[in-house]
């Protein structure tokens, strides 16, 4: 070992210690989070790591074509990990080099490194130009952080070529002819250069490479590129339950309710914050962000991270925290307006390449505001009181729940005599428009000879809005009341009218250890059609667009059943809106937003109605009473309610029923 090796060893040691120290400081803060079990399903988890990060399924997305550039950089990075590993070891031990391996292997590696380096350089240049010249709107494209990292990667590649071509020109590289780029540079620019100059060039580039590489390593933990370290574990630890339902809370004295400070989150929530790549896809799909509201899911996650980094060390040392988690806007704090803007549509979670769970964190903070502080938008007070006292949002007499069935031959559910419970829900029971949908469902069920009944005044609200608004305490009372009724009446099979009731009964209630067979009317009717139990005469509804309900689509992966049903009932496939299926845009009413004023930004239902109207439909088909209300309001607002009708799937089918 020469003196230069010793110097490099010293620098390397300092850099590595600094890196480990930074990582330790960051990762020990995760231990401040509350416990959460993400064990089990090991094989599935490994498979996810293979598919999402390694095959880059995370980045490559038909709607984000530039993701392919990330994939190229990532794969280059994997190959160059080897090259840089050798670089560091070789810098200390001159004898330890790939050149010492058998020629075949060495030449292959040399070729790979050379090609991959030029690819990486091109990908970086492309990324820089994109950020400079055609920046996407949904991120702060021209961020310092991004240019620093891209600059470092570009410098690394240039240094790689600089030192290798100088070595080739010096005749020190046996694999020269297998390194097309370096060889070309050596032959074109360094052919006539003096040996002493080449030595200098080689050394300058070598040290440049060394310093930038170690700086890069030490910059990572302080930048968004921390995701290089955290995103793979985050994918491994992703939620595999298939449900984004909030967790139950234990209502015991002395417990905290919801999240009011950063260490009330779980360790996995905190790891999420460390894993954000700032790609902005969540913002690009968030109905609140897209309609100019204060909420931006990416910034929520960012603020959690900033808050943890600021307060974490204080909490570790047992000192008071510096930065409140929920407070008027300041980096690292989240505004109350932001927390109330969320529709819990789930688009952020669905689109996140590294499986961050953004909107459930908003529900955590809503719980704190509602349950611990009793702070929420004014209009919710009446809603909460109505729910608690009368188990419906409007405070209507519970005894009027079955009024929609007046004059119809509707049976009360009775175990043994009726097979299915039709769980009508608050909208279907009380809302003037949704009551027509309930009647339509009743007609379809009767036409198919299904044995069904209702609970009438014994039915209570499912509690979905309460839960998503953070009022878990009253939600739990309702869930328990409903489950008690189901048990007492022997209910096991339930058809729901509303996707929100559907999700609540199926996923939320399952947390109480009760397994119910719950099906939404869309799927149920589609099954009846497939089984040939409904005789349909295609009805002409004109051009029909279909709007995916978030709680049916993203929450429960039901995309085809409504489309097949409309096709069967109208003889024509639905016209798709620009944003559909997993990318379907929310109507604006979920997450309890139905009961809140929408005073900030453009109204979400107007945005979605305009999107539907672009297709010039005669019918907008929905599968949820919330969406129904939002579209009908939107059409009135756009003065289009005379030309365009909004129909529920069940109403579409009724129009096709053979008399």
């Amino acid at each position: 070992m020469e003196i230069s090796n010793w110097i490099f060893l010293a620098i390397l040691a300092v850099a590595l210690i600094a890196f480990v120290w930074s990582c330790r400081n960051k990762f020990r803060l995760l231990a401040l989070g509350k416990p959460e079990d993400r064990s089990g399903s090991g094989l599935k988890r490994v498979w996810n790591v293979f598919v999402y990060p390694l095959l880059q399924r995370c980045a490559v997305n038909p709607f984000y074509r530039f993701g392919i550039n990330h994939a190229i950089l990532f794969w280059c990075f994997l190959v160059l990990l080897l090259a840089n590993g050798e670089f560091l070891i070789h810098g200390v031990l001159p004898g330890a080099t790939f050149a010492a391996m058998p020629n075949g292997l060495y030449f292959t590696l040399a070729f790979a490194f050379d090609i991959v380096s030029i690819l990486a350089l091109l990908a970086v240049l492309l990324a820089v130009s994109r950020r400079l010249f055609f920046p996407p709107k949904y991120i702060q494209a021209r961020s310092k952080d991004a240019f620093i990292i891209l600059g470092m990667i570009a410098t690394l590649m240039i240094a790689f070529f600089g030192s290798h071509s100088a070595e080739i020109a010096l005749g020190e590289v046996t694999a020269a002819k297998y390194m097309p780029v370096s060889n070309w540079i050596a032959n074109t620019f360094m052919g006539a250069t003096a040996e002493s100059t080449l030595e200098i060039v080689k050394n300058v580039f070598w040290w440049l490479h060394a310093i930038v590489l170690l700086s890069f390593l030490n910059y990572l933990p302080y930048s968004k590129h921390m995701h290089i370290l955290t995103s793979i574990p985050n994918v491994y630890l992703r939620n595999l339950t298939g449900s984004t339902s909030p967790k139950r809370e234990e209502f015991k004295k002395g417990n905290t309710f919801g999240v009011g400070k950063v260490n009330d989150f779980t360790w996995k929530n905190l790891l999420d914050a460390y894993s954000c790549t700032e790609c902005g896809r969540c913002s690009d799909n968030c109905p609140a962000t897209k309609t100019d509201k204060p909420l931006n899911p990416r910034l929520v996650i960012h603020d959690i991270k900033v808050n943890l980094l600021k307060n974490g060390p204080q909490i570790v040392d047992g000192k008071p925290v510096m930065l409140p988690l929920i407070a008027p806007h300041h980096e690292g704090s989240i505004e109350e307006d932001v927390i109330w803007d969320c529709t819990t549509c789930g688009a952020c979670v669905a689109v996140c390449p590294v499986f961050i769970e953004q909107f459930p964190r908003i529900i955590d903070m809503r719980r704190h505001l509602v349950e611990t502080e009793g702070k929420f938008p004014e209009e919710l007070l009446g809603f909460f009181e109505n729910m608690e006292q009368r188990s419906n949002p409007w405070g209507i007499t519970p005894g009027d729940r079955a009024k929609w069935a007046t004059g119809l031959d509707v049976k009360m559910f009775e175990a043994g005599k009726t097979e299915y419970l039709l769980y009508v829900g608050c909208f279907g029971s009380f809302d003037a428009r949704a009551k027509h949908v309930t009647v339509a469902i009743a007609r379809v069920l009767d036409a198919a000879g299904v044995s069904w009944g209702i609970l009438g005044k014994d039915e209570k609200c499912c509690g979905d809005s309460l839960r998503r608004l953070g009022n878990e305490y009253i939600f739990e009372q309702m869930a328990k009341d409903n489950l008690k009724t189901f048990q007492a009446k022997g209910v096991t099979k339930i058809i729901t009218e509303c996707p929100h009731c559907f999700t609540a009964l199926k996923d939320d209630y399952a947390q109480y250890g009760v397994k119910l067979e719950v099906i939404h009317h869309t799927e149920f009717i589609n099954n009846l059609i497939k089984e040939g139990k409904l005789k349909l005469n295609p009805a002409d509804l004109g051009k029909t667009v279909f709007h995916d309900s978030c709680y049916l689509g993203r929450y429960n992966n039901i995309y085809q059943a409504p489309r097949e049903t409309v096709k069967a009932a109208t003889g024509k496939a639905v016209v798709e809106m620009d944003r559909n299926l997993e990318r379907g845009f929310c109507c604006g009413a979920g997450g309890g937003r139905m009961w809140l004023e929408e005073s900030r930004g453009k109204r979400i239902n107007i945005e979605r109605t305009e999107e539907a109207l672009k297709k010039q439909p005669r019918t907008i088909c929905v599968s949820c009473p919330y969406c129904m209300t939002m579209f009908e309001d939107g059409l009135k607002d756009k003065n289009a309610d005379k030309d365009v009708q909004v129909l529920d799937i069940a109403e579409v089918v009724v129009k096709a029923l053979k008399k």
Partner: protein
């Protein structure tokens, strides 16, 4: 120092139906709630507690199931609650009710100085608005009805400044403590019980005082102490009104006709 909020558990009148045959209220299955005006009375007491550090007692006279409403008061932050319940108190009109409530305030005052008694302006079942003033009279306290703002309370000089909401104008009054006030809805927005408060109030006691505790002369309370006699309860018959214009065929014209009539009768001014 104690602020006493008088609250009443009432049937939710929005849920009450009238028996078409007998014309009486069907009480069965109707949920009970805290009288809406009293929620503002309790809230104002709690705000005084937050601001001046007073203790808050909530009292109610009613059947044993009124504990539900008192529990709610505890979950909202009342420090103690007293249920005045005895068969002898039953059937009381506003005079007999105010006697029992006034005696209860006196009894609370034996342990701790009472600075204020706050009532809702009226209940939604009786709608008399007499109990608050009745309590003031029995206690010989000054009374301010229809308060929509408490501007300041000074415990040293024993004075309070409050604003009353009267028809078309406000009245700002300085008054000596202790005082009985009745409040209107505009005075505040009631809070929502937090979960920690709900949980911790579960173990708090609801004190019940019957007449063995109160020692009131049975001829002055309950049905016996109530001079009010109810002769008949009936729904006023609806007199057929005048139909103006045709709102279906020509809504604009109908609206204009209606507006003219209202102006003619001096009900609205344009």
């Amino acid at each position: 120092m104690l602020v006493v909020a008088c609250i009443k558990q009432v049937p939710d009148t929005t849920q009450v139906k009238i028996d078409p045959v007998t014309g009486t209220l069907i009480r069965e299955g109707v949920p009970f709630i805290m009288n809406p005006f009293d929620t503002h009375a309790l809230e104002e007491a709690l705000r005084l507690k937050d601001k001046y550090g007073f203790r808050v007692a909530a009292i109610t006279m009613g059947p044993p199931n009124s504990t539900l409403t008192l529990r709610k008061a505890l979950s909202l932050g009342a420090d103690e609650v007293v249920l005045l319940s005895d068969r002898a108190f039953g059937g009381a009109d506003t005079l007999a009710t105010s006697r029992v409530l006034a005696e209860a305030v006196k009894k609370l005052g034996e342990k701790e100085e009472v600075v204020m008694v706050i009532c809702g302006k009226q209940t939604i079942d009786g709608d008399t608005a007499q109990v608050g003033p009745g309590i003031a009279t029995r206690l010989r306290y000054p009374q301010l009805t229809l308060v929509d703002q408490i501007k300041s309370v000074d415990v040293n000089t024993k004075k309070m400044i409050a604003r009353r909401k009267l028809e078309g104008h406000h009245e700002i009054v300085e008054v000596k403590l202790p005082v009985v006030i009745t409040v209107v809805r505009e005075i505040n927005k009631p809070r929502y019980p937090t979960v920690p408060m709900r949980l911790s109030s579960e173990d708090m006691p609801v004190t019940t005082w019957d007449n063995k505790t109160m020692h009131l002369d049975e001829t002055t309370i309950g049905l016996k102490g109530s001079p009010t006699r109810v002769n008949r309860i009936f729904s006023p018959e609806r007199v057929k009104g005048e139909i103006i214009g045709d709102g279906l065929k020509n809504p604009e014209e109908a609206a204009a006709l209606l507006a003219n009539k209202l102006v003619e009768r001096d009900i609205i001014h344009l």
